[in-house]
């Protein structure tokens, strides 16, 4: 055990977990990484390409190495960073990218043959035979190289989304963020403080300094307590702001239950928050960067600041003998912290000349670490002191190459960061409006500087909002930060730049040699900065090495593009509730409850659940039910819920003129109390939608649309009203939901309705295509004498709350007539029998002429689409025309999706004569019938053609007939 005294862990509670099947213990407050280090486990993974043994490198979300598969079953998650994963009792973690075990990994052989696996090797190596790439090479490479594996099971947890609003969003709860939130919160601003960590404080928890004469971690805790008590402050721990979007919108993921074995009942695993904040401060701190030297990737080599964090926050030292290699003052501070904790600091290797020597520590100046040893963990380092070499036995080495302001969020809008020589790093340039960087993220590396910049930013925001936000800074260290840049120590072996992607200095050199010198090319050529860590520790180092090679400055070399997400975001949380049954809402018709009682089979039409058919006792196959419903309707009467058809109320003194412009045919001349079938075209002349529109008053119409187009037609009408003809006096609103509407069709339809409707609905009082406002038992209702089935038919509507009552009343009144309730299948059969077009024919590529409705396009007026429907090609005499199709042999079953071919013609595309659009079994005729678009169809009545479906393997001889299979003269519907 390497636990030392102190730390921010709860030693009173012990948690049990496993890593690669072996049991370990931890305490609340531990991460997977700290708990493993406490158990002397240094080897935590294998590298991406060479399968090199790797340990933990950092103590935060920037971790490139310690990636693990956590949990099992449907909750298994690959590539979890051990440095941020909280240990819970029962956690199970597995190492990745190794076989058969982490300590003995067969593919470690890759490391021996590393010279074959330099950057871009597979571009050059696997060139031939060409077809081997996909079949052989790529699968092998993918197996050998990689991260974790996905589970094939469904995730059992729910995810969620939400929306938050604040005057000020503070991103990061280190010294700058805490001070910003405190200053703004005390001034009464609405503040959200979001921090990716589960413990607020940032580096205050990792360093042994003091703030306001108390330990820095104690000050952080006290500040959080005050913030929690402020009524306008919302503290969000375990919440990563991952993206900065337009207009002050930020994306954040709250890991609600990631620290638990499973979410508590009713709770979600994670929540995706959209945060609206006109002002935000980015207090994201800085990320320490490594120095490249030979074999700098062994388990035990880590960032100096991470060593310091493990010692101070988690009371863990990952070794007995520790050395520090630094080019800046923070490395010295790390050494002093470790020494104060009683750790044996063997040496501090300081690449800089001059400066004060650390007391009581072997402080070597002008020295470098040039190599390391130890197969599965560090055992020693070789140092160079101006040509003199020495080997030191150490089992932990902290490296500090300086600190990079963590500016990813600020740069997501493509602004290039500025180079700051003082700290040898990029600092954020101007970011999106309202977002400013503070603290270490802005290059303020002293604690007091961070506190001050956070408070100043909050005061500025308060002033912008007309508030005063005075603040007093607590006492804190304010030391200058000195650095002498050192990026890579020359060596003969391999020095890692990007440990996650196994990119070495040599790879960067190769990239340069092959002229991929731009940072974006360097990234693609070497994979520098890709994958889960997005180069948080390696990117700048890679660019610096390239800059040395090209002779350009690092500033001119630049950085690759920053994009959201800042750290990995699960697909589950992006999907949120929208999965499974909750993928979209359901719409229920007014007869739904009655139909469900009857055992109806429902079909999804858009979001509606419509009755598809209603099986009766003894019916085992859908066709039995549908045939019965069709025959009973045609014989006597059938009832169908048609509420789903769009209903749009159109009023105003220009309502008629408006309809004339949106419909191809004329409506201004329609008499009050009458309905008319209307055809609506798109601007390009194709048919958009159809339906019946009724004139209820001089300036009042109600339009019906198809179910599918209810929304798009309404949107189109609004566009016409608001944008095309804003001067017209027209008011429109959807009333689809307001009315429950039923079709009552069949020879006895009138008799049935007469039992319910209070008024006279005889043929004389309500002739075909008439409409009227009536009452049912005194309740206001509307009746339309229109027919889709070809039968004597009405549509009757009542306010939706009475829809259930009406279906029950219709069924009860219909008993005397053997009435049936029919579903969408029977509806479809009857409309095909009647030759009415529907969605299959209105497919967006057909014209009125194609449908045999060419005469409906009035040339006496202008309307949307009329002009372009007159294009020469669309008017071709031999174009597609709607026809009816019936098999010559009634026993033949034509197949949906078939195409038409002349007899004797080869079944190739150039001989295609059109296609079958709708196919039904007609119980009335006793065989299949179909509608279809046939080339020059109007002139081919009686012709025998072939109905061919190559997929189904059918080739059926059929006759072209009128699309009106039943009652072509329309006597029934006028009856």
């Amino acid at each position: 055990m390497t636990r030392i005294a102190g730390g921010l862990i709860d030693r009173n509670t012990t948690l049990n977990f496993t890593f690669d099947g072996k049991g370990y213990t931890a305490h609340p407050g531990d991460t997977l990484a700290s708990a493993l280090l406490a158990a002397d486990v240094r080897l935590m993974g294998r590298s991406f390409k060479y399968h090199r043994p790797r340990g933990v490198m950092t103590a935060g979300s920037e971790e490139p190495n310690a990636l693990m598969q956590v949990r099992t079953g449907g909750r298994q998650e690959p590539n979890t960073r051990a440095t941020v994963a909280e240990v819970y009792d029962g956690l199970e973690a597995q190492s990745q990218n190794r076989w058969p075990s982490l300590a003995f990994d067969a593919l470690g052989i890759n490391d021996r043959f590393h010279s074959f696996f330099a950057a871009g090797f597979y571009y050059k190596t696997f060139m031939w035979p060409r077809k081997f790439w996909e079949a052989v090479y790529e699968p092998i490479i993918r197996r050998a190289a990689g991260l974790g594996r996905l589970t094939r099971e469904a995730d059992p947890d729910a995810y969620d989304k939400g929306f938050l609003h604040a005057d000020l969003l503070v991103i990061g709860a280190g010294p700058a963020g805490l001070m910003a939130a405190l200053t703004a919160g005390r001034a009464g601003l609405r503040v959200i403080l979001a921090d990716e960590d589960f413990l607020a404080g940032g580096r205050l928890n990792a360093e042994a300094g003091s703030v306001a004469d108390q330990g820095s971690a104690d000050w952080a805790r006290a500040t959080v307590a005050e913030l929690a008590a402020l009524p306008t402050v919302r503290l969000m721990s375990r919440t990563t702001v991952f993206g900065v979007f337009d207009h002050g919108i930020y994306g954040a993921v709250e890991r609600v239950s990631d620290h638990l074995a499973a979410p508590v009942a009713g709770q979600v695993r994670q929540t995706l928050w959209r945060i609206y904040a006109p002002h935000a401060v980015m207090a994201t701190g800085a990320i320490e960067r490594p120095i490249a030297f030979d074999n700098n990737d062994r388990p035990g080599v880590m960032l100096a600041g991470a060593l310091r964090a493990y010692a101070n926050r988690w009371a863990v030292v990952p070794g007995q003998r520790v050395a520090i290699f630094t080019n800046n003052d923070s490395g010295l501070a790390s050494a002093l912290d470790l020494q104060a904790k009683g750790v044996d600091v063997v040496a501090v290797i300081d690449s800089r000349e001059g400066g004060e020597l650390l007391p009581g520590i072997r402080h070597l100046r002008g020295a470098h670490v040039v190599d390391t040893s130890g197969r599965l963990g560090l055992t020693g380092i070789t140092i160079d002191m101006k040509g003199r070499r020495e080997t030191l036995a150490v089992d932990a080495l902290g490296v500090s190459g300086g600190w990079n302001p963590n500016l990813g969020l600020m740069q997501q809008h493509r602004a290039r960061p500025d180079w700051n020589d003082q700290i040898a790093a990029f600092t954020p340039a101007r970011g999106p409006k309202g977002l400013m960087a503070v603290g270490a993220a802005a290059g303020e590396f002293s604690t007091l500087g961070a506190l001050r910049s956070g408070a100043e930013a909050a005061r500025a925001v308060a002033e912008a909002l007309g508030r005063q936000a005075p603040y007093a800074l607590p006492k804190a260290e304010d030391q200058a930060y000195r650095i002498a840049p050192l990026w890579a120590v020359p060596g003969a072996s391999r020095a890692w730049v990007d440990q996650q992607n196994d990119v070495t200095v040599k790879d960067v050199k190769l990239s340069h040699q092959e002229a991929f010198t731009d940072v974006e090319h360097l990234k693609r050529y070497t994979t520098l900065g890709m994958a889960t860590d997005q180069g948080k520790t390696g990117n700048l180092l890679g660019a610096a090495v390239m800059a040395e090679l090209t002779g350009q400055s690092i500033e001119a070399t630049g950085q690759t593009t920053y994009r959201p997400p800042f750290t990995p975001v699960s697909l589950g949380v992006l999907g949120g509730r929208s999965q499974g049954r909750d993928f979209k809402p359901f719409r229920h018709t007014p007869s739904h409850h009655w139909a469900a009682e009857q055992g109806a089979v429902f079909v999804e039409v858009g979001m509606w659940l419509r009755t598809q058919w209603l099986p009766r006792k003894g019916e085992t196959e859908w066709r039995q039910s549908v045939d019965r419903e069709v025959l009973a309707t045609r014989k006597s009467v059938g009832i169908c819920d048609v509420t789903t058809l769009g209903k749009i109320d159109i009023q105003g003194t220009d309502a008629g003129a408006f309809l004339d412009r949106v419909y191809a045919n004329t409506f201004s001349t329609l008499a009050v109390g009458k309905c008319r079938y209307g055809l609506m075209l798109r601007e390009d002349g194709m048919v958009f939608d159809d339906g019946t529109t009724a004139r209820l008053g001089p300036h009042e119409y109600v339009m019906t649309t198809t179910t599918a187009n209810a929304v798009t037609v309404f949107r189109h009408l609004e566009y016409c009203r608001q944008c095309l003809w804003p001067d017209m006096d027209v008011q429109i609103i959807s009333t689809t939901e307001a009315w429950a509407q039923y079709s009552v069709a069949g020879p006895n339809a009138r008799k049935l309705l007469a039992r319910l409707v209070d008024q006279d609905i005889s043929d004389a009082a309500l002739p075909y295509m008439g409409c009227a406002e009536v009452t049912i038992g005194g309740l206001r209702a509307r009746i339309f004498r229109i027919s889709f089935s070809g039968e004597l038919a009405y549509e009757i509507a009542v306010p939706a709350r009475y829809g259930d009552g009406l279906i029950r009343a219709l069924v009860a009144a219909g008993e005397a007539f053997d009435a049936v309730v029919y579903g969408t299948e029977a509806l479809g059969v009857m409309r095909v029998e009647k030759g009415h077009v529907a969605g299959n024919e209105l497919n967006g590529t057909s014209t009125a002429l194609n449908m045999g409705l060419g005469k409906m396009v009035s040339r006496k007026k202008d309307a949307i689409g009329v002009t372009l429907s007159g294009r020469e090609a669309l008017l071709a005499e031999d174009g597609l025309r709607l026809v009816g199709v019936k098999p010559v042999n009634p026993a033949d079953a034509m197949k949906a999706g078939s195409h038409f071919l002349k007899q004797g013609a080869a079944a190739v595309a150039e001989n295609d004569d059109g296609w079958l659009t709708s196919l039904v079994w007609s119980p009335h005729l006793g065989h299949y019938i179909a509608l279809g678009y046939l080339r020059d169809g109007a002139k081919r009545m009686g012709e025998k053609i072939r109905v061919v479906n190559l997929l189904a393997g059918t080739d059926i001889l059929a006759e072209i007939v009128s699309p009106h299979f039943i009652d072509p003269e329309g006597e029934r519907l006028r009856g």
């Binding site: 729910a158 969620d160 939400g162 929306f163 938050l164 609003h165 609405r190 609600v256 009713g266 709770q267 979600v268 959209r274 609206y276 509730r577 929208s578 909750d582 979209k584 809402p585 359901f586 719409r587 229920h588 018709t589 007014p590 739904h592 409850h593 979001m607 509606w608 109320d649 009023q651 105003g652 003194t653 300036h699 009042e700 001067d727 017209m728 006096d729 008011q731 609103i733 959807s734 009333t735 689809t736 939901e737 307001a738 429950a740 319910l756 049912i776 038992g777 005194g778 309740l779 206001r780 009542v798 306010p799 939706a800 709350r801 009475y802 829809g803 259930d804 009552g805 009406l806 009343a809």
Partner: protein, 186 residues
């Protein structure tokens, strides 16, 4: 009016729902009649002078018997007690004559009133409306789990009263969304 047909609520029940959601209460309201009112071109003045309050942009007005809330730049919704104004269109045509286009909307919507302090925590899981910053009487159109809704803030945040109007056919899905959301923050 003695009716042959029995009404059902949007959720398919004979009585409106009243349900506790942690610290909050959800009350389904079926006792309010609704109609949209859109002044005819050039008749805005007549509509404004009528005995029905015209709401300002993104606002609602409470009154007796007429209340109203804003829908679009040229349309607002009128609310009145269902018991006395079931045929609300007839009532309003009596007031406006042909100065406005009036459409009955009562049964196009399901109405859920959410009640109780701290409602902003629940609303944060439902839609992007800032119910804390919104003034009392604020009315807007928003989207909850793909469902278009009207939202009206009826009382100050300290009391907590928000009305949601959602499409009647989606009443079940809207209730489901509210219940799930409440489960995560209650």
């Amino acid at each position: 009016m003695d009716k042959l047909l029995k009404p059902l609520t949007a959720l398919g029940a004979s009585a409106p729902l009243r349900k506790s959601l942690g610290p909050w209460e959800l009350v389904e309201r079926v006792d309010v009649a609704l109609a949209s009112v859109a002044p005819r071109r050039g008749r805005e003045g007549e509509v404004a002078r009528a005995d029905v309050p015209v709401p300002a942009v993104a606002a609602s007005v409470q009154g007796d018997p007429w209340s109203s809330f804003w829908l679009t730049p040229d349309m607002f919704m009128v609310e009145a007690p269902f018991a006395s104004h079931e045929d609300i269109r007839a009532h309003l045509l009596g007031i406006y004559g042909d100065a406005a286009s009036v459409t009955e909307q009562t049964d196009a919507w399901v109405r859920f009133d959410l009640l109780g302090p701290g409602l902003e925590r629940l609303m944060a899981k439902l839609c992007n409306v800032d119910v804390v910053a919104a003034p009392e009487g604020y009315a807007t159109r928003t989207v909850i789990e793909h469902m278009g809704c009207y939202l009206i803030k009826r009382a100050p945040s300290s009391e907590g009263a928000v009305t949601l109007y959602g499409a009647r056919s989606m009443a079940g899905s809207l209730l489901h969304a509210i219940t799930l959301a409440a489960g995560t923050v209650a």
